[in-house]
Amino acid sequence: MRDVWTVLRKELKELSVVDGGLITSLSFLAFVGLIGVILPLQIGPVWVRATWPVMFWAWMPLFLVTTVTADSFAGERERHTLETLLATRLPDWAILIGKVGAAVVWVWMATMICLPVGLITLNIAYADQGPLLYTPSAAVGVMIVAFLAALLGASLGVLVSLRASTVRQAQQALTLCVMVLLLGPALSLRFMPTDWVDALMTLFIQGDPAAVAFALSATFLGIDAFLVLAALARFQRTRLLQS
């Protein structure tokens, strides 16, 4: 685990200082401003009461993580730092998990900052409506679903980045994957029986947010496990330098 922590620290350090750190900080602030302030203000108190925002917290990390993970291996390869890293004593799995972990931590932290910022914004803007809060189970559900969505995106990103020779190539492949992930379920609704679709719509609009969050978490968990195992299986030092 110490090796994983070392790689994770390295990755987070690199992420935090990219382009001198200023652009990273500004981008981060812009992101928090958009997701944590503007969006809740636009939507209003429904942001905490309805079920569908849970879906948003599942989508957002997935979208965000692609910008980080494309850089993981392809970026190192492009900057010629990968071979030196591979020539160290770090085990394969530690490098891989460290990189996935860094992406997850980065994105999950961003999400977790947006969550309370959104609540604060709503409570200031709609102070007359009394305290606006997620139910504890919904809050936990959102945290879990955001974490698992970040893990899904990170594993997928690392898996793609493993074989991509440039960051651009990795980003293109990842964008395609995320589009499939996001649009795939929506498109699949067209082929479902009508009563199934109705039931799903009712669940997402009127259902218990916590139940939706846990249902999503269970789905993500299965996909995450598969992707992490696939990435571990594909990560082979002796093949990385040839790609």
Partner: protein, 407 residues
């Protein structure tokens, strides 16, 4: 069966044994020799170049002394035709190491041993197989056939153990340019699990040695290539590796920066008592730094020996005759002599290459008889460059006193 210290396998018929040169490092127990079939041969007597108990090697005199000691042990092996019991253990050993990339054979049956504490130089053109060799030795590539060990560990089945003992500066410096110099070394110190207190002292020590301590907080991306290379060498040494792999460390540097880097490299390598495996295509660098040189072409090791040996073996016997009256007729007459392998006129002098064992006197007599006026006859010193080019151009057969000849 012909025994030699270092060499390349000569096909399936190669039955030569590889004996091990041993050194104990800080009282480390000596290991066993390997026969070509991988069968260990125990040697009872162990005398060594015990670097740990020897005084620090700092100056060029010490380096010369170390080189003499290493070479003397090689000489003994050759004279006796057997590995003496007091030989130091090899830091690197390959046997028939081969690597193919689709249709290209990047490395062809490489067999060699690098004694501990020596600076081994691998000379060859771009694409000769030097980088592939380092990658194979670090377990970053799998061999097509053959095997290799570093510090007694198999490069493929025990690659992690190998990497634990190695420091590397590959073709690209591999530094993280977004972060500072000190952060780069700190990161690698953490990777090598050096405790914080020791790590900080070590990082400072290394940065001071390469004169970068004052600039430790600067982002590496703003630095010159020479500074980056120095920092990369410091990074490679942060965990006190037993073997240091350097892949063309001075490539792309201006002569002053290259000389400075070479000095730093030599000082660090000697202070750290590390075995160095240096890939280079700079002959001067190889000559200055290396105790043993290997010349590689198209994946095949052509020659192996000390720089002095290679100069002697690879180069032609050349004489410079200064004078006048070197007409075309005279040149034709000289050229037709069987002992002359090559002849060229340069203004008022002739350069004549002789076949082995032939003397210059008959040719000088012939020149005088043909009416030429001779002012001076001088044997031209062979240079490593001559040897290198002769080998590269196939003018001399692959050779070297340490090459394993086919049994």
């Amino acid at each position: 069966m012909t025994i030699s210290r270092l060499g390349f396998g000569a096909g399936a018929g190669c039955r030569a044994d590889l004996r091990t040169i041993r050194a104990t490092r800080g009282g480390e127990k000596a290991g066993t020799s390997l026969r070509s079939g991988g069968q260990p041969v125990t040697k009872k007597q162990m005398v060594s170049l015990n670097h740990a108990s020897s005084p620090r090697l700092a100056g060029s005199d010490d380096r010369q002394r170390r080189r003499r000691l290493a070479l003397r042990s090689h000489e003994r092996v050759r004279e006796r035709g057997d590995a003496p019991a007091d030989q130091p253990m090899a830091a690197i050993r390959t046997h028939g190491l081969t690597r193919d990339f689709s249709t290209v054979r990047a490395l062809d049956r490489l067999t060699l041993e690098v004694p501990r504490g020596s600076v081994f130089g691998f000379l060859g053109r771009n694409g000769a197989g030097k980088t592939t060799t380092i990658r194979l030795l670090l377990g970053l590539l799998e061999p097509t056939s053959g095997g290799a060990t570093v510090m007694g560990f198999d490069c493929f089945s025990q690659s992690m153990e190998v990497r634990k003992r190695c420091g590397v500066l590959l073709e690209q410096h591999g530094l993280i340019e977004r972060i500072s110099a000190i952060d780069n070394l700190e990161l690698y110190g953490r990777i090598w699990r050096i405790p914080r207190k020791i790590r900080r002292a070590r990082v400072r020590e290394l940065l001071e040695r390469v004169d970068l301590w004052e600039r430790r907080k600067e982002k590496v991306r703003t630095w010159s290539r020479g500074m980056k290379q120095k920092l990369a060498i410091a990074r490679a040494l942060v965990h006190r590796p037993a073997v240091l792999f350097l892949d063309e460390p001075t490539a792309g540097l201006d002569p002053v920066a290259a000389a400075s880097l070479r000095d730093d490299l030599l000082t660090l390598a000697e202070r750290e008592r590390v075995t160095v495996f240096l890939n280079t295509h700079y002959l001067t660098e190889a000559e200055k730094l290396c105790d043993i040189l290997g010349i590689i072409r198209d994946g095949r090791l052509l020659a192996l020996g000390s720089p002095e040996e290679l100069r002697r073996q690879g180069a032609r016997r050349r004489v410079r005759v200064t004078g006048s009256g070197f007409s075309e007729t005279v040149l034709e007459m000289v050229r037709s002599r069987p002992e002359v392998s090559w002849l060229s006129r340069e203004e008022d002098c002739l350069l004549v290459d002789f076949q082995d064992e032939c003397r210059a006197a008959p040719i000088v007599r012939l020149l005088v008889r043909l009416g030429a006026e001779i002012e001076e006859v001088r044997q031209v010193d062979n240079t490593l460059e001559d040897a290198f080019h002769s080998l590269m151009n196939g003018e001399v057969p692959p050779s070297g006193s340490w090459l394993v000849k086919a049994g």
